[in-house]
C-alpha cells in the first residue's frame, strides 16, 4: 500500500485481529470492528468454545446501547425481537436509604433549571415548607415508569416528553448470538476451540499467537482479551495485575435464576437492598431475570439462596447458579498488543447496569485509538487513562449507593456506613450535602440518588428564599400536573411492545 508522502516513515497497518472469547464482550467487539474497519483490509477471528459457559447475565442496559446498535445499522425492532427485550426507563431502588424507602433513578434530569437554579432546590424549599411530595413526582420518566407507560421521546423540544432517554432489558446470550450472526456475515471468522497456550515474541514480549486445544496455532497482530474473569491474555500471559476494590465494594457473590414473570411488566429494573447486598429483578418478554448479589463475609450462600428463591415473582425455570467475583479493575486495560475488554478488564457489580456500557466504551475507544504495528505508547496510555477514569467514576457512584444509607440493621450496612470512601466521592458527597450542588460531568443523576437515599442538602440555594413562596408552590403544583398530563398521553408498555413485536 503506497503512501503518498515519501519522507515520512510509517509502520505497517495491522492485518490480523484475534478476539479470544465470545459472549457479549467478544461478539460486540467482533461486530463493531467488522463494521467499522475498512473491508478487506483486516482479518478478524473470534475464538470461543461451546464448552466454556459465559456469565450469561447482564441483562439490564444503558441508553448508550442505542447508539451502539445504530452505528452498526441494527434496526431497533429487529433487535428487540431477537433479544426478547423490554424497555427500561430507569432503576427503582428499594430499601437502600432506609427499609421501605423507594426511589427511581430515571434516565433523565428531574425537572428543569429555572431562573438559573437547579430544580431540586425548589423541591427542597417545598420540603422545608412542609410539603411531602416525592421527587419522583416531578420526573416524567419516573412517573411513566411507575404507570407502566412508554413511548420514544418526542421530537418537539418544547414537549415535556422530549428530554429523556431509554434503554432495554435484554437476553444477553441472545444479543451475543445476534451479534455473532451479524459479525459472521461481515466475514468475522469464528474458531471453535479453547486456548491452551500463548506464545510471546522474544524481543518485545508482544503476543505472537495462541495455541488451541486441537493444536491449531492462531497468530495475529492485535489480540482482544474477552476471556472473562480468566483473563487468559492480559493477566495469565502479560501479568497485568488487578486492582482490588473489594474494601469499598465488599459483595463477592451472586446467586442467579430465571423465573416466570407472573406480574405485570414494568419498564424498569428493580434493585432491592437486602441484609448484605441486593437483589435484582429484570423483566424480559418471556421471563424474569433474578439475582441476589451479596457478600459471603456477611451472609451465607444458603441464606442468600433462600432470600432469592422466596421472593421470585414466578416459578423458577432454570437451575440457580452461583457466580463469584471481586470488584476491581485491571491496572492497564491495554498492554503491548493486547486489549482487555469486558470482565477481563474489570468488574463492577451490576447495580447501575454498567457492564455492557463499559464494553461499549472500550470498543469505541479502541476504534478511536486504533493502532498500527507501531503500537505507539501515547495512544495506549490515553486509552488506559480513559478506561480507568470511566471505571473509577462508576465505581464511586456505586459506592455512593452503599455508603449513603441510614440502615444499621446488619453488620454489612454498618460497614458500608462507616467505611472511608474515595476522596473524589467524598468531595462530591460534601458538595451535595452542604449546598445541593452537582457536578454534571459525573455518571448518573445525582440528585435522584442522593435525595432518594436520604442525603438531603443542609442548605438549598439561598436565592430561593427571595422568591415569594406562593409563586414557588404554584410552579411546583403546575409542574406536577404537567408531568401527570404528559404521562397520561403515553401508551401502556404492553401495547408498545405488542406493536413492536407485531411488525417485520
Amino acid at each position: 500500500m503506497p503512501f503518498l508522502s515519501g519522507n515520512i516513515m510509517h509502520s505497517e497497518p495491522i492485518k490480523n485481529i484475534v478476539i479470544v472469547g465470545g459472549g457479549t464482550a467478544g461478539w460486540m467487539t467482533g461486530a463493531a470492528l467488522a463494521n467499522k474497519l475498512p473491508k478487506n483490509a483486516y482479518n478478524i477471528c473470534l475464538i470461543e468454545s461451546d464448552a466454556i459457559g459465559t456469565v450469561g447475565v447482564g441483562e439490564s442496559t444503558l441508553p448508550h446501547i442505542k447508539q451502539f446498535n445504530e452505528s452498526l445499522g441494527i434496526d431497533e425492532r429487529e433487535f428487540i425481537q431477537a433479544t426478547n427485550a423490554t424497555i427500561k426507563l430507569g432503576i427503582q431502588f428499594k430499601n437502600w436509604g432506609k427499609i421501605n424507602d423507594e426511589y427511581m433513578h430515571p434516565f433523565s434530569e428531574i425537572g428543569h433549571v429555572t431562573q438559573g437554579i437547579d430544580f431540586h432546590h425548589y423541591w427542597l424549599k417545598s420540603k422545608a415548607m412542609g410539603e411531602n411530595v416525592s421527587l419522583d413526582d416531578y420526573s416524567v420518566v419516573a412517573m411513566a415508569a411507575k404507570a407502566r407507560r412508554f413511548a420514544p421521546p418526542n421530537q418537539n423540544k418544547q414537549s415535556m416528553l422530549s428530554s429523556y432517554a431509554y434503554s432495554y432489558h435484554i437476553d444477553a446470550t441472545a444479543y451475543a448470538a445476534y451479534l455473532r450472526q451479524y459479525a459472521e456475515k461481515k466475514a468475522v471468522k469464528r474458531i471453535e476451540g479453547k486456548v491452551t497456550d500463548i506464545i510471546k515474541a522474544d524481543d518485545n514480549g508482544f503476543i505472537d499467537s495462541v495455541i488451541l486445544d486441537n493444536g491449531e496455532k492462531v497468530a495475529a497482530d492485535l489480540f482482544i482479551d474477552c476471556s472473562g474473569f480468566s483473563a487468559l491474555l492480559i493477566e495469565k500471559s502479560l501479568n497485568i495485575p488487578f486492582t482490588d476494590w473489594s474494601h469499598w465494594l465488599p459483595t463477592d457473590s451472586a446467586v442467579v435464576v430465571q423465573s416466570e414473570r407472573d406480574i405485570d411488566l414494568n419498564p424498569y429494573t428493580i434493585a432491592t437492598a437486602r441484609s448484605a447486598g441486593w437483589q435484582w429483578q429484570i423483566p424480559l418478554q418471556h421471563r424474569m431475570g433474578n439475582g441476589h448479589v451479596y457478600s459471603r463475609s456477611y451472609v451465607s450462600d444458603e441464606d442468600a439462596f433462600d432470600t432469592l428463591m422466596s421472593s421470585l415473582p414466578g416459578k423458577a425455570i432454570t437451575e440457580p447458579r452461583i457466580l463469584r467475583f471481586k470488584a476491581g479493575c485491571r491496572e492497564k486495560a491495554w498492554h503491548k498488543n493486547c486489549v482487555a475488554i469486558g470482565l477481563s478488564s474489570g468488574f463492577l457489580e451490576p447495580l447501575e447496569s454498567t457492564s455492557i456500557f463499559l464494553i461499549q466504551i472500550a470498543i469505541t475507544k479502541l476504534i478511536e485509538f486504533f493502532p498500527n504495528k507501531d503500537f505507539h505508547q501515547a495512544a495506549i496510555t490515553q486509552y488506559n487513562q480513559t478506561m480507568s477514569h470511566h471505571y473509577i467514576q462508576i465505581r464511586n457512584f456505586i459506592i455512593l449507593h452503599y455508603h449513603a444509607t441510614q440502615r444499621n440493621d446488619s453488620d454489612f450496612w454498618h460497614y458500608c456506613r462507616e467505611m472511608s470512601i474515595p476522596d473524589e466521592l467524598q468531595h462530591l458527597l460534601s458538595l451535595f450535602k452542604e449546598g445541593g450542588r452537582v457536578d454534571r460531568t459525573q455518571f448518573g443523576i445525582w440528585p435522584a440518588v442522593c435525595i432518594g437515599q436520604g442525603v438531603i442538602p443542609e442548605q438549598y440555594d439561598a436565592r430561593i428564599d427571595n422568591l415569594p413562596y406562593d409563586k414557588i408552590q404554584q410552579y411546583m403544583n403546575n409542574y406536577r400536573m404537567q408531568v401527570q398530563h404528559a404521562v397520561n398521553t403515553l401508551p401502556s408498555i404492553d401495547n408498545y411492545l405488542r406493536q413492536v413485536m407485531k411488525s417485520i
Binding site: L4, S5, F370, H376, A378, A462, N466
Partner: protein, 501 residues
C-alpha cells in the same frame, strides 16, 4: 425524610474591587444573574490604577456564550465599529520566515468515511489545511462573514471571535451594570475588617470613611491583589513555564491608513512572531493598534522598543507614543477563599493569540452564578469552584504553551522565547505525543477550548512528523485526493459568491 433546619442566609452585599473590563464583566454578569434577588452590588472603581488594561481584546467565540447567557445585545458594539467579528487567525513567521498560515475557527469539518479531515491533509502531504476550511477561506479572500444562519454547512461550520475596543466594551458593560442597579463607589479601598472567628471579610472601609457591610468580595485588584494575596495570604504563582513575557508595548494610530500589510482587510486576527515575542495588529474603532508581547528589563527596554518600531515601520517612528504595560503570567493558587473570589489579573493571566484572558473571567462569573454560595460559603462550594476554575486556567496555560512550542518548530529562526517539549506540562506532552502518533486527539468533557481549535494548533506543531489515522491506509490515495479536491472546490465556489468586506 425531614430537611435539616440549619439555614444560612442569602448573600446581600457584594463588593467588586477594581473597575477594569474584568470588574465590569463581573458587575454586569452578577447583576444580571441575580436580578430580582435582594442583592446589592458595589464596585470600587478607583482601584483601576493598579493594573494595566490592554487597548484591544481578541476574544474567542466564548464571548457570545456569555453574552447570550447575560442577554447582552452585542449588535450595538458591532454596528458602532467598537467590535469586529473574526473567523480566522493568521500566523505570520511562526512556521518559517515570512510564512503565512491561516487557521479558521472551525467547529466542523467534513470527514472521509468517518475519518477526520486533518488526517487526510496529513496523508496528502502537499495539502494545506486552510484550503479546506470555510472560515479560513472567507478570511483569506477578504470576504464578509456570513450571517449566523449561514455558518453551518455540510462542507464546514465555524464560529466567530470578536475583536473589541476595550474601553468601549467596558463602557458598554458599565452602562448595562449601572442600569441593573450596580452602584459605583468613587473612593478607594482603605481597609477591611474581618470576622475574628471565620476570617471572612465583614466590612469594607473606604478612603472617604464610608463603611460597607460585605458578604462576598470580588477582588479584581491585580496579581498583587489587595485582599486575596495581601490580606488572606493566598499566593499568586508566577508561571515559570510560560514564555517569560512581562511587557505589552502598544502603539495606536488614528484613522484607517494603511498598516504594514496593506492587503490585510480580512476577517482574521493577525499574530506575527519575532525575536522578542509576538506582534498583533488590529483595526478597531477607526484606529490601528500594534501590540507586542515581550520581555523587558530596565536595561533592554530601549532595544525592545527600537525593535518594535522597526517591525511596524515605516508608518510610525515616534517611540514616545508607545504605551508600556506590565503583565504577569501565572495564576492564583486559589480562586475562592473564605468569602473572597479573585478575577482578572488577580486570578491569573494567560492571554494567548486566540483565547483572551477576558474569557476566563466571563466563565468564572457564569460558574459563580451556577454555584452561587450563601453567606456561609461552604467549603464544598469553594472546593468545587476552585477545581473547575483551576481546570480553565490550566487549559489556558497549556494552550498558551502550545503556542510557545509552535514557535520552536520554526524552520529558519530560533526564537529565544520558544519552548521545547520538555518545558510543557505532562498533560500537554501527552496531548502532543498522542497527536504525533496518528493525529489523534481525545475530546475532553466540558473543555473550555473545543477540539477543532486544539487540532488546528497541533497540526501546525506536528506538521513535520505528520502522522495520520492507520485506517486511512486502506483507502486509495486517489480517492482521498479526489475528496479533498471536491471540498476545496465547493468551499471556493461558495466563498467566491460572498460579498467582499
Amino acid at each position: 425524610m425531614t430537611v435539616s433546619t440549619q439555614h444560612t442566609q442569602a448573600i446581600e452585599n457584594i463588593v467588586i474591587i477594581g473597575g477594569d473590563v474584568n470588574g465590569w464583566v463581573a458587575a454586569m454578569g452578577l447583576a444580571r444573574g441575580l436580578q430580582g434577588q435582594k442583592v446589592n452590588i458595589f464596585l470600587i472603581e478607583q482601584d483601576s490604577q493598579y493594573y494595566d488594561e490592554p487597548a484591544f481584546i481578541n476574544a474567542s467565540s466564548h464571548i457570545f456564550d456569555f453574552h447570550r447567557t447575560m442577554g447582552v445585545n452585542d449588535k450595538y458594539l458591532l454596528s458602532n465599529g467598537h467590535a469586529k467579528l473574526t473567523c480566522a487567525t493568521r500566523y505570520k513567521n511562526w512556521l518559517s520566515d515570512s510564512s503565512n498560515h491561516y487557521v479558521g475557527n472551525n467547529t466542523f469539518l467534513p470527514a472521509f468515511n468517518g475519518i477526520a479531515l486533518h488526517h487526510l491533509t496529513a496523508f496528502c502531504q502537499s495539502a494545506v489545511n486552510s484550503d479546506y476550511s470555510y472560515a479560513a477561506q472567507i478570511a483569506i479572500q477578504n470576504k464578509r462573514i456570513p450571517e449566523l444562519n449561514y455558518r453551518k454547512e455540510a462542507f464546514g461550520s465555524f464560529n466567530t471571535g470578536m475583536t473589541l475596543n476595550t474601553q468601549e466594551y467596558k463602557k458598554f458593560l458599565r452602562g448595562a451594570a449601572l442600569h441593573l442597579g450596580v452602584k459605583v463607589l468613587g473612593s478607594s479601598l482603605k481597609a477591611v475588617e474581618q470576622d475574628i472567628n471565620s476570617g471572612f471579610i465583614k466590612t469594607i472601609v473606604l478612603d472617604n470613611s464610608q463603611r460597607l457591610p460585605v458578604d462576598l468580595v470580588i477582588d479584581n485588584s491585580g496579581a498583587d491583589s489587595k485582599i486575596m494575596k495581601n490580606l488572606l495570604n493566598v499566593n499568586y504563582h508566577d508561571s515559570s513555564g510560560t514564555p517569560n513575557f512581562n511587557t505589552l508595548l502598544t502603539i495606536k494610530r488614528e484613522g484607517n491608513k494603511p498598516t504594514i500589510d496593506t492587503s490585510k482587510v480580512g476577517a482574521y486576527t493577525s499574530i506575527t512572531a519575532n525575536n522578542h515575542g509576538w506582534l498583533e495588529d488590529v483595526s478597531i474603532s477607526g484606529t490601528n493598534y500594534f501590540r507586542q508581547s515581550c520581555f523587558s528589563t530596565a536595561n533592554n527596554i530601549d532595544t525592545v522598543k527600537e525593535a518594535f518600531l522597526t517591525n511596524i515601520s515605516p508608518f510610525l517612528s515616534d517611540k514616545t507614543n508607545i504605551i508600556e504595560q506590565r503583565i504577569r503570567y501565572g495564576q492564583s493558587s486559589q480562586f475562592f477563599h473564605r468569602n473572597c473570589i479573585v478575577i482578572g489579573g488577580a486570578a491569573g493571566y494567560y492571554d494567548s493569540p486566540s483565547i483572551s484572558n477576558l474569557i476566563l473571567t466571563q466563565r468564572a462569573v457564569t460558574r459563580l452564578l451556577a454555584l452561587f454560595p450563601s453567606k456561609a460559603c461552604f467549603n464544598s462550594t469553594i472546593n468545587e469552584y476552585n477545581r473547575l476554575t483551576t481546570k480553565d486556567y490550566n487549559e489556558a496555560r497549556d494552550f498558551l504553551m502550545l503556542h510557545a512550542y509552535l514557535a520552536s518548530t520554526n524552520d529558519k529562526t530560533t526564537y529565544p522565547w520558544a519552548k521545547t517539549q520538555s518545558d510543557l506540562s505532562a498533560n500537554l506532552q501527552q496531548t502532543i505525543a498522542l497527536f504525533q502518533c496518528y493525529g489523534r486527539f481525545e475530546d475532553q468533557l466540558n473543555a473550555m477550548i473545543i477540539s477543532p481549535t486544539w487540532i488546528n494548533l497541533l497540526s501546525m506543531c506536528c506538521r513535520k512528523t505528520a502522522s495520520y489515522e492507520p485506517l486511512l491506509a486502506a483507502f486509495s490515495g486517489k480517492d482521498v485526493s479526489r475528496f479533498l479536491a471536491k471540498i476545496k472546490h465547493i468551499i471556493n465556489e461558495r466563498v467566491t459568491s460572498l460579498p467582499k468586506i
